[in-house]
């Protein structure tokens, strides 16, 4: 059964001049870990705010746990957990005070649902008397997650929870989410980081208010239409330029250690031809190999 559903949601700002959400439809199943992947301004926050009943859509309808976001908003507000974009806790209250406060706002106590947040809370418990404003990014995240979970919500909305946080904390955060999923909570996460997409069960890629693709990460990768290759050489900057100038290369994108390319004509001849050309251009240590596309590759492809 779908726990969260959106049908043809449209949201504009500035009297229709800015189309933040452009006819978006998708659904999330109960207990699923769903990722909404896209850059800033793609419409992720607007969608989350509509689902958490903070914004009214211009048209379309949506429901959470069977409740309509417009008519039954009070029911939704009592039963979901929400972690909005930037750090939205009280900077001048301590860790413990924040947690107690939000527990009380939700008519519960920390004791009642402690088992749910225990694994997370023990990491910040040593700092429970510290003012929330003085915690590091990773700690703030954990605290915000605890506060969003304290009332044992059925659905959890996390809007860019890992933005601005370092890699280590990000990894830890996703570990925590995986464990939460085991508790049966439906989790919707939005993120601009493509590498986090593979950590979700299903994802929706969104750009400019439109959904580019919705599926499991594996399926999306399978749908990549061509063979993808990675190429490297000693001078990556020059390599990039040379590849771009080459008419046989259909697409070329820098990807850190390698450049990812696709061929106009994908056969062994053209592969060898390329290596030949690169050697003639005095590239050293050339390496060319076939690779499985990443979500980022798929995203770029879909954007075009």
């Amino acid at each position: 059964m779908a726990d969260v559903e959106l049908h043809n949601i449209v949201k504009t700002y500035n009297k229709g001049k800015v189309k933040a959400v452009n006819d978006v439809s998708f659904s999330v199943n109960e207990g699923e870990l769903f990722g909404l992947i896209g850059a800033d301004g793609a419409g992720k926050t607007s969608i989350f705010r509509i689902l958490t009943t903070l914004l009214l859509p211009d048209s379309g309808n949506a429901s959470v746990s069977g409740f309509d976001v417009i008519k039954d908003y009070k029911n939704i507000r009592s039963s979901v957990g929400y972690m909005p974009g930037k750090f939205s806790l009280y900077q001048d209250l301590s860790v413990e005070e924040n947690l107690n406060f939000f527990a009380s706002v939700f008519n519960t106590s920390v004791k009642e649902n402690y088992d749910l947040i225990k694994d997370i809370y023990v990491q910040i418990e040593p700092f429970k008397d510290r003012r929330a404003g003085k915690l590091s990014g990773g700690m703030k995240q954990k605290l915000a997650l605890c506060c969003a979970l304290i009332h044992r919500p059925k659905v959890l909305f996390l809007d860019e929870p890992t933005t601005g946080v370092d890699t280590v904390s990000r990894k830890e955060f996703w570990e925590m989410l995986k464990r939460l999923k085991q508790q049966g909570i439906t989790i919707l996460v939005s993120t601009p980081y493509m590498d986090e997409a593979t950590l979700c069960e299903r994802i929706a890629l969104i750009q400019n208010g439109k959904i580019l693709s919705i599926d499991t990460p594996d399926e999306i990768v399978k749908q990549f239409p061509e063979n993808l290759f990675a190429v490297k050489a000693n001078d990556m900057s020059k390599l990039l330029n040379d590849l771009r100038k080459n008419n046989e290369i259909k697409t070329c994108n820098a990807f850190g250690e390698f450049h990812h390319i696709t061929f106009q004509n994908d056969n062994e001849n053209s592969h060898n031809e390329l290596i030949h050309i690169l050697q003639k251009a005095n590239h050293q240590n050339i390496e060319l190999k076939h690779i499985t596309p990443s979500i980022e590759d798929c995203f770029i492809k879909l954007m075009n």
Binding site: F127, M139, G164, D166, T167, V168, K171, P192, M194, G256
Partner: protein, 248 residues
């Protein structure tokens, strides 16, 4: 890339009371280099960058930036560097042209220089139709690219970029790095911090700060070999997970 040193630090330290944010960091950056300055939040990166930009006085140690002393010549430093961060870049309620004119004026460009640079910039970015539009109306990616171009309007020796590609889409990110490459080709030294580990690969050399200290500094390839890692992500993970400063 020549071997001229544009940044040279010697045991640079910043203390806040008992807390040592940046602990005796010593390193060099060469002209035209793309230098990645990585580290977890709280590792002391921002503090270090502030000192290098002349915005914060070190507690001890020495450094020269673009040849100027970090204690006595902070004004000279500021004149010779550019700065761009995710948080601040341009004035949203001014147009593209007005922003260029404003910053050009601040950097001391003459009217003639400004006009030439202005046209060049707008052409390079393909913003002819947007020149008279308010920056607030531009998509994020364009804002970031514009901000970078404005930061190097005066062809500074070094440009400091604080997480410049946060939140932008993959295509814009790469376009941004194209701009960085062309700036580096012109001899501008790029000092960049980022959370995207694939961007660490684009740098000539990378340093990693952990708990206020530079734990590693080398080319990406060497670092991967050193830590038997297959990607910069793994290198970072190896170095950062032992960090003590988890709550700060």
């Amino acid at each position: 890339m020549t071997n001229e040193t544009v940044i040279k630090t010697d045991k640079l330290t910043k203390r806040f009371g008992d807390f040592i944010a940046t602990n005796e960091i010593t390193f060099e950056v060469y002209a035209g280099e793309i230098f990645g300055f990585l580290g977890a939040n709280g590792a002391g990166k921002t503090t270090a960058m502030k000192m290098l930009c002349g915005l914060s006085t070190p507690s001890s140690g020495n450094a020269t930036i673009a040849g100027f002393d970090i204690y006595k010549q902070t004004e000279e430093i500021k004149k010779n560097i550019g700065y761009m961060s995710q948080k601040f870049s341009l004035y949203e309620d001014l147009t593209v042209l007005e922003n260029i004119q404003f910053f050009g004026g601040i950097y001391g460009l003459t009217d003639k220089q400004l006009k030439a640079k202005s046209n060049q910039l707008i052409e390079t970015l393909g913003m002819q139709n947007e020149a008279k539009k308010l920056v607030a109306s531009l998509p994020l990616g364009w804002k970031q690219k514009l901000a970078f171009s404005v930061a190097i309007l005066h062809e500074p020796k070094i440009v400091f970029l604080d997480e410049p590609t946060g939140g932008v889409d993959p295509i814009v990110r790469r376009q941004f790095w194209d701009l960085i490459y062309s700036a580096a080709d012109r001899g501008i030294t790029i000092f960049v911090t980022t959370h995207y580990m694939d961007e660490a690969e684009y740098c000539n050399r990378v340093s990693m700060m952990v708990d206020g200290v530079i734990k590693a500094l080398d080319t990406p390839d060497n670092l991967k070999k050193q830590f038997s890692a297959s990607s910069m992500d793994d290198v970072f993970f190896e170095l950062a997970r032992g960090a003590k400063r988890k709550a700060d």
